[in-house]
C-alpha cells in the first residue's frame, strides 16, 4: 500500500520577495522571542543586485543524507511529521551534516556554532504562516502542504 502523503514546506523561489520575514519569525519562535536570522532554520539566499531570492529549508528527504553523514547518530528521522531531528546531547558539533546535505538546508547557529535544521515548529511552521502572498503573485513562496495539495493551490491560483 502506498504511504499517505505528508505535509512539507514546499518553496517556490519565483514567489519570494526577499522580505526575510520567515527568518525573523523562525528565530523568534525557537529562541524565546529573539530576532536573529543567523539562528534561523530557514534562510533566504539572495542576490540583491539582480533582485532574486530563494528560501532554503529542509526538504524532508525520504532517505536523508544528513542522517547518514552524522558520525554520532545525533540525527534521526521523525516518521510522523517527516522531519529530521538533531539531538543536542548527542551532537558533537562536527558539522558533517552541513556538508552532507545536498540542498545546503542545514545551517549554523552563529551564536552557538551548532547545526540547525527545520523542525516544522512542531507541526505548524511559522514561516509558512507569515509568508505573505504578494498581490503580483498567485501564491506564497513558502507553503506547508502535501505535494497534491500544492498542485491544487497552483491550478486554482494560476
Amino acid at each position: 500500500m502506498k504511504k499517505p502523503e505528508i505535509k512539507k514546506l514546499l518553496t517556490d523561489k519565483t514567489m519570494c520577495i526577499s522580505c526575510h520575514q520567515c527568518e525573523i519569525v523562525c528565530s523568534q519562535f525557537h529562541f524565546n522571542g529573539e530576532v536573529n536570522p543567523r539562528r534561523s532554520r530557514i534562510r533566504i539566499l539572495e542576490n540583491n543586485f539582480i533582485g532574486v531570492s530563494e528560501p532554503i529549508v529542509c526538504r524532508q528527504c525520504l532517505k536523508p543524507a544528513c542522517v547518514a553523514a552524522c558520525p554520532s547518530g545525533a540525527i534521526t528521522k521523525d516518521e510522523t511529521l517527516g522531519r529530521v531531528m538533531i539531538a543536542p546531547h548527542k551532537c558533537n558539533g562536527c558539522l558533517e551534516c552541513l556538508k552532507g546535505c545536498p540542498f545546503h538546508a542545514i545551517f549554523i547557529d552563529e551564536r552557538t556554532q551548532q547545526p540547525l535544521v527545520c523542525d516544522l515548529c512542531g507541526g505548524k511552521p511559522m514561516c509558512a504562516q507569515f509568508c505573505h502572498i504578494h498581490p503580483a503573485h498567485p501564491y506564497a513562496a513558502i507553503n506547508f502542504a502535501t505535494p497534491s495539495e500544492m498542485a491544487v493551490i497552483k491550478t486554482q491560483t494560476t
Binding site: 520577495i17 540583491n48 551564536r111 505573505h132
Partner: protein
C-alpha cells in the same frame, strides 16, 4: 535591559583609526527614542555651531531605533544624521534595505563617524571585530561595482554594505549613500560628507540577537498589521505598483513637476505613470521584514540599453527625470536612474538641477559655451545622460551643477534664482507647491532639512480641504508630520505605516511592546514636538531664521495653464500658514521655540 535596543554606540575616529564602544544613554533614549530623534540629539550635543560640513570636525551618525530589526512591519531603516553640505543645516537621510537590521545584529544602535582618514578607507564591522581596510582599489569605482567588490573582499556574500559612488568622492552636494544597490540615503549630500572623510564604505555583518520586551504582543501585532494591510486598497495597490502609483494622483491634482516646475501636469504622463511603470517590472522585491514589497526590479525594453535591469525607479525619479525634464519614456527614465544610482547621486536633486540648467539655456542665461557646447534641451535624453556623468565627475558644466541648484543659481545669477527650485538649498522633490497644493508649500517651507516630501505628505488629504486656500493646512501639515515622527524615531519605514492608516496611538503600542516602557499617546505627541523643536533649534543655532522657511520665487507665480490658471499660492498665504504652524508648535512669530515650550518638552538646556 530595555527591549529592542542593543544598548551600544560605536564611535569611529577615522583620523586616529580608533574605535570605542559606548553605552547609550537610556534617559535620553526614553526622551528621543532613536533614529531621527536620538540622532539629532547626539549631533546637537557633539557638533560645534558653524562647523564646516565637509571638514573633519563634521560627524556622520548612523542611527537605528529600538524597533529596527524586530518583527514590526517595515522595521528596516537607518537614518544618516549629519550637517548637510548642501544646506549647511540639519540633515537626516533615510534608507531601507537590510543594512540597518544588520547594524543591530552586529550589536550597535548607533555609529558615530568622526575625523578624516588620510587615505581612502572602508570599515569592516563583524560583531566586536572592527577593521579599517585600505580602499584605494575602490576609490573611483561606481557604487554598484564597489559594493560587489567589498563583499568579495570580506569573503561574505551576506555582508551588508553602505557605500558612496564617484559623486561622493568628488564632494558633490547631490551625492548619496547607498546600500543593497538600490536603497539610498538620497538627500542633502550625505555622500559628500562621507567622501570628505575619505570613507568609501561601511561593511557590516552581525550574528547577535535583538531581544524585545513582549514578543507575544509584537507577534500578535505583526499578524494583525499584515492582515489589516491586506484589506486596505491603497496598500494593495502600493504593493503592486510601488511608489510610482503616486504619479497618477499628482498629475491628476496638477502637482506633478513638469519642465522645471513650470507646470503641474504633463502631457506625456501616461508614458511614465503606474501602468507604464508596471509593464517594465520583472520582479517584486522587498526590504527586510516588510511584506509590502514596493521595491521593483525593472527591465529596459527597447533601445540601446534593452535588457538592462535595475531596482527602481521610484515615483520621485519618474517625475524628476521624467516629466520635469520633458521625458515621456519609461525606458529612458530607467536608464537615467541607473546612471544616477551607479554614480551615487540623488535622482531628485539631479533632475531638479538639470531642469534649471535647461531653462537657463532656453532663456539665454547659460550660453552654448557655458554648457560645453551641448544641445541641452528638455527631452534630449543622450545629452541629459552625458550631463549626468559630467555632474558626477564634476567635468565642465557638471562642476557647477554638482553644487546643487541653490549654489549654482547664486553663481550664475541673472535672475536664475527665480526658478531655482529649492528650500534652504535642498532641491524640491516631486510635488509642485502652488495653487493646487498650498499644503505642500507649507510642508516644504517648514521642513528642517529643506524641501522634503517625507516630513508631511498632504497629497491626498489636502484634496478634502478648500482649494486654492491656506485654510486648515497648518493643522494638516502638523498632523501628518507628527504621524511619522514616532516611526522615524522607532525606526521603521513610513509606507506600511501610512497605508494601514497607523496613527500615533499605534506607534505608542508598538514602542511599548518592543521596549517595555509604558509609552502613552501623550508621550508620543510630546516626542513629535520635542523632535521638531530640537531640529528647529539646531537650525537656529546655525543661523537659519524664519526667512529661510520659504519657497522658491516661482512657486508664488500664478499658474499659466491648467485648472488653476491665473491663481497663485501667494507669499501672504504662505506667511499666514507658517504663522499658524509655528503657533501650533509653541514657537513665537519668528519661529523660535518659546521658553515655556522648551520647558514643557524638557529641552530648557538647549537655548
Amino acid at each position: 535591559m530595555i527591549g529592542g535596543y542593543t544598548g551600544k554606540l560605536l564611535r569611529i575616529d577615522l583620523t586616529r583609526r580608533q574605535t570605542a564602544v559606548e553605552d547609550i544613554d537610556l534617559k535620553l533614549a526614553r526622551q528621543f527614542i532613536g533614529g531621527r530623534g536620538y540622532g539629532a540629539k547626539l549631533l546637537f550635543d557633539e557638533l560645534k555651531p558653524f562647523t564646516d560640513p565637509l571638514s573633519p570636525e563634521n560627524k556622520i551618525i548612523y542611527a537605528t531605533g529600538p524597533v529596527t530589526g524586530t518583527p514590526v512591519l517595515g522595521a528596516n531603516r537607518y537614518v544618516v544624521v549629519t550637517k548637510s553640505p548642501e544646506t549647511g543645516l540639519f540633515l537626516d537621510s533615510y534608507s531601507g534595505g537590510c543594512f540597518a537590521p544588520e547594524m543591530k545584529f552586529a550589536g550597535y544602535d548607533f555609529m558615530i563617524i568622526e575625523g578624516k582618514s588620510s587615505a581612502p578607507v572602508s570599515l569592516w564591522i563583524k560583531d566586536d571585530r572592527i577593521e579599517f581596510h585600505d580602499a584605494a582599489h575602490l576609490w573611483g569605482k561606481n557604487a554598484w561595482d564597489a559594493e560587489t567588490q567589498l563583499k568579495k573582499d570580506v569573503g561574505d556574500p551576506t555582508a551588508r554594505v553602505s557605500v558612496i559612488g564617484p559623486a561622493g568622492e568628488k564632494l558633490s552636494n547631490l551625492a548619496l549613500i547607498q546600500n543593497e544597490y538600490y536603497h539610498q540615503c538620497g538627500r542633502g549630500g550625505a555622500g559628500a560628507v562621507m567622501g570628505s572623510k575619505n570613507l568609501k564604505a561601511i561593511v557590516v555583518r552581525g550574528s547577535r540577537s535583538i531581544r524585545i520586551a513582549d514578543p507575544k504582543k509584537v507577534m500578535a501585532m505583526l499578524r494583525e498589521t499584515i492582515d489589516r494591510t491586506d484589506t486596505m486598497k491603497p496598500a494593495v495597490a502600493r504593493m503592486k505598483y510601488g511608489s510610482p502609483l503616486t504619479l497618477d494622483s499628482t498629475n491628476l491634482f496638477g502637482i506633478l513637476p513638469t519642465l522645471n516646475y513650470k507646470y503641474g501636469q504633463f502631457t506625456g504622463a501616461s508614458q511614465i505613470d503606474s501602468v507604464a511603470f508596471r509593464k517594465k517590472v520583472v520582479r517584486d522585491t522587498s526590504c527586510f521584514g516588510c511584506t509590502i514589497g514596493c521595491t521593483k526590479v525593472t527591465r529596459i525594453e527597447a533601445g540601446e540599453h534593452a535588457g538592462d535591469e535595475m531596482g527602481g525607479p521610484e515615483y520621485e525619479t519618474n517625475a524628476l527625470l521624467g516629466s520635469n525634464l520633458g521625458i515621456a519614456n519609461m525606458d529612458e527614465v530607467i536608464y537615467l536612474n541607473m546612471l544616477c544610482d551607479s554614480l551615487g547621486m540623488d535622482t531628485i536633486g539631479v533632475g531638479n538641477v538639470i531642469g534649471w540648467a535647461i531653462e537657463c539655456c532656453e532663456r539665454g542665461i547659460l550660453s552654448d559655451s557655458d554648457v560645453d557646447g551641448m544641445d541641452l534641451k528638455f527631452g534630449n535624453v543622450p545629452v541629459i545622460a552625458a550631463l549626468i556623468t559630467k555632474i558626477a565627475y564634476r567635468r565642465g558644466i557638471g562642476d557647477l551643477l554638482a553644487k546643487g541648484v541653490k549654489q549654482a543659481a547664486r553663481e550664475v545669477g541673472k535672475g536664475s534664482e527665480e526658478f531655482a527650485m529649492h528650500v534652504k538649498g535642498l532641491e524640491y522633490p516631486a510635488y509642485r507647491p502652488g495653487p493646487a497644493s498650498p499644503g505642500f508649500g507649507l510642508a516644504y517651507a517648514v521642513s528642517e532639512r529643506g524641501a522634503c516630501h517625507r516630513r508631511a505628505w498632504p497629497t491626498i488629504e489636502e484634496q478634502m480641504l478648500e482649494p486654492n486656500s491656506g485654510k486648515g493646512r497648518a493643522a494638516l501639515v502638523k498632523r501628518l508630520y507628527d504621524q511619522r515622527v514616532p516611526w522615524h524615531c522607532a525606526l521603521t519605514c513610513d509606507f506600511p505605516v501610512l497605508f494601514r492608516g497607523a496613527q500615533i496611538p499605534e506607534a505608542a503600542q508598538t514602542l511599548t511592546a518592543v521596549t517595555g516602557w509604558d509609552l502613552t499617546t501623550t508621550d508620543m505627541q510630546d516626542l513629535c514636538d520635542r523632535v521638531a523643536t530640537l531640529l528647529k533649534v539646531f537650525n537656529l543655532r546655525e543661523g537659519a531664521t524664519e526667512v529661510d522657511d520659504t519657497l522658491a520665487p516661482r512657486s508664488f507665480q500664478p499658474d499659466e495653464t491648467g485648472m488653476n490658471r491665473g491663481k497663485a499660492l501667494t507669499r501672504e498665504m504662505l506667511l499666514e500658514m507658517r504663522q499658524e504652524y509655528y503657533t501650533l508648535r509653541g514657537w513665537d512669530k519668528a519661529g523660535v521655540p518659546t521658553p515655556s515650550t522648551l520647558h514643557k518638552l524638557g529641552l530648557s538646556d538647549l537655548i
